[in-house]
Amino acid sequence: MNDCEDDRAAVRRIRAGDDSAYAELLARHRDRVFSFLLRLLGSPQDAEDVAQEAFVKAFSRLDSYDSARPFVSWLFAVAHHAALDFLRARRPAALSLDDPDGAPDLADSGPDAEAAAEAALDGRLIERLLAALPPLYREPLMLRHTQEMGISEIARVLSLPEGTVKVRLFRGRDMLKRKLSACGFGGEKF
């Protein structure tokens, strides 16, 4: 991956004292980190605050980054932990991202009148369905299917065993499937 090499070069420049490389790393990863946090936290303001926290943390701890690994997965690990800290501090009642696998909310798969009105699969519909999943499942799904990370990479980002990641991905996709089905997808044409 080309981005990967560019990231390593930028980190080398920072280590050599070139502060302009911070802006380059920020520009390259800002949108994906923000999108990830926005879908995780739900509020643009919270997502911006946590994204800022994550970048500042990452930039001030670059000496702990092992350049043998992709920079982006290290950055996402920092963002994941920043989101976790945020949720613990501000919303102790909310479902934590590292809850042990509780009973997934499979009951919530009845027909969704509003969603069913949508005829075609588009990003906005998926956005709504994804937002209705517990964060526990939403987070690995995003890393897998929007960031294109592999299982072992996701396991490192979330500090979870690979088996747990696989289970959460399976359950998350299953919930999304049921919601799509409730919206009228998967009808007689299949």
């Binding site: 923000f34 001030s60 699969l121």
Partner: protein, 204 residues
């Protein structure tokens, strides 16, 4: 190999990703030919995965970059002060080690063997070490947690003091360690908030 629905469902994603062995893929496909339910599940799964690739990239507000870069630069400036603290601890550790070496060589009474052994004992037994540290901490005007943090820091610095000849360390390892801990406490006490908040924040 015959595959039933319960075996088929968990493998549909692997089939879509093309990571099943040829044998497993063939068995699954032959099940799909005869099972409308699993065909529907596979189609829904493909749709869910395809759907997630349709998610739009979202952007933070225009001022985001400037804010992050300013906050990161401020964090870097703060890190300049701790470098002074580390430098000060380096110097303090070195001076104290040399002072202890001189003391051990010339002063009366010399550090007795039993005195050195009690330090070894303290280092080996955390509870005893704690009481030694606590005493030193009170002298230095620190609380015990502060003392422990300072001692840890001093120990880290100690391992970085590479410009002391190995022979000196070889002769006086215990005294050096003890002296460094005490020096760390003294400097940590000197760097309390009234002097420089940034330095003390680092030491805590």
């Amino acid at each position: 190999m015959k595959v039933n629905c319960d075996q088929a469902r968990p493998r549909l994603q692997d089939l879509l990703e093309g990571i099943l062995s040829a044998h497993a893929a063939a068995a699954l496909k032959s099940h799909l030919v005869s099972c409308a339910g699993c065909r529907r599940e596979k189609a829904l799964l493909a749709l869910a995965v395809e759907g997630m690739s349709l998610l739009a990239v979202r952007r933070p507000s225009a001022a985001f970059d400037a804010r992050v870069l300013a906050a990161a630069a401020a964090a870097r400036r703060e890190r300049v002060h701790p470098r002074f603290a580390v430098w000060a601890l380096d110097v303090a550790a070195t001076v104290t080690v040399l002072w202890t070496a001189a003391l051990a060589a010339f002063a009366r009474p010399r550090l007795s063997v039993s005195g050195a052994l009690s330090v070894v004992h303290a280092l080996r037994h955390p509870a005893a070490a704690l009481s030694v540290l606590e005493l030193r901490a009170v002298e230095a005007g620190l609380s015990l947690p502060e003392a422990l943090r300072a001692a840890r820091h001093a120990a880290a610095v100690f391992s970085r003091v590479h410009f002391i000849p190995g022979s000196v360390l070889g002769v006086l390892p215990i005294q050096c360690m003890a002296a460094t801990l005490i020096a760390g406490l003294a400097v940590a006490a000197a760097a309390r908030p009234r002097h420089d908040p940034a330095v003390s924040r680092r030491i805590r």
